[in-house]
Amino acid sequence: MTRAFNWLFPHPFLTVLLAIVWILLQGQFTAGMAVFGVILGIIIPRATANWWPDRPHGFKLGRMMAYMVLVIWDILVANVQVAWIILTRRNSKLRPAWIVIPLDLRTPEAITVLAGTITLTPGTVSADISNNGRSLLVHALDAPDPDAVRDEIKQRYESRLKEIFV
């Protein structure tokens, strides 16, 4: 029974996500649209399952929601800070820096989410990853203390992501 379930829904979360995106794209909610969305949500993950063999199996949706709220709050705060820097700071007093972040995360999905988070919070852009995926290169707009930024990213985002993708 579970094998049949796993075969039909290789990625249950993606099924739900695709159905929701389809219904939102339609703009109005009708039963037919919902059914078609669910059908799409079953067919697409099934048809593409061969191309992602090592997908993470544990994924904590509740913690992901909490993480997203935290990130949105950080985006708001960092936006105001960076706007203040742009408007008031002279270029000569700007201290841009490269920051190397050693990664504890191993799954590509988790690293992608971490890199995306770093870029979305203004003031830091994730620029590159090392060839074996063990460290991340981040550029910071104004970092008087690069080590502090590295530690903050590690304990604020990475430790949470480690609990989401298990």
Partner: protein, 129 residues
């Protein structure tokens, strides 16, 4: 004060916030000194600027017409795609060395943009021949 009045004020505030952050992002593009720091300005427009404008659009649609949740989708797609384009631009910057040279990767790792592949080297030889 009716609910439409409150909604109108809210829409105005959201529009102003969105316009302000878009303006600051454009100022940052003009003002910041090199290509890597300039990359930081558009991320602000992409998140706060567009976010506040879409919030205004959503409030307007729900108060004065038939609302839809498509704006959430626009937001989600922007949040998913914006980091990728920023990543590509910084990779190009590193590749063309048009910014400060990044520090070496720790231990015996190499930044993936700077990895030299054997087949690339072979192709270059062919070209010079």
């Amino acid at each position: 004060m009716t609910i439409t009045d409150i909604a109108s004020y809210a829409i105005g505030v959201f529009l102003l916030i969105g316009a302000f952050f878009s303006l600051v992002g454009s100022i940052g593009m003009l003002k910041l000194p090199d290509s890597m720091t300039r990359l930081h300005a558009p991320t602000k427009v992409g998140t706060m600027g567009i976010g506040a404008l879409l919030l205004a659009s959503m409030t307007y649609a729900y108060t004065f017409g038939d609302g839809s949740l498509r704006e959430i989708l626009i937001m989600a797609f922007l949040f998913v795609t914006a980091p990728i384009s920023a990543n590509f631009m910084s990779k190009v910057n590193i590749h063309r060395k048009s910014c400060d040279i990044p520090p070496e990767a720790p231990q015996d790792q190499v930044w993936s943009t700077l990895v030299k592949r054997d087949e690339d080297a072979a192709q270059k030889d062919l070209k010079t021949l």
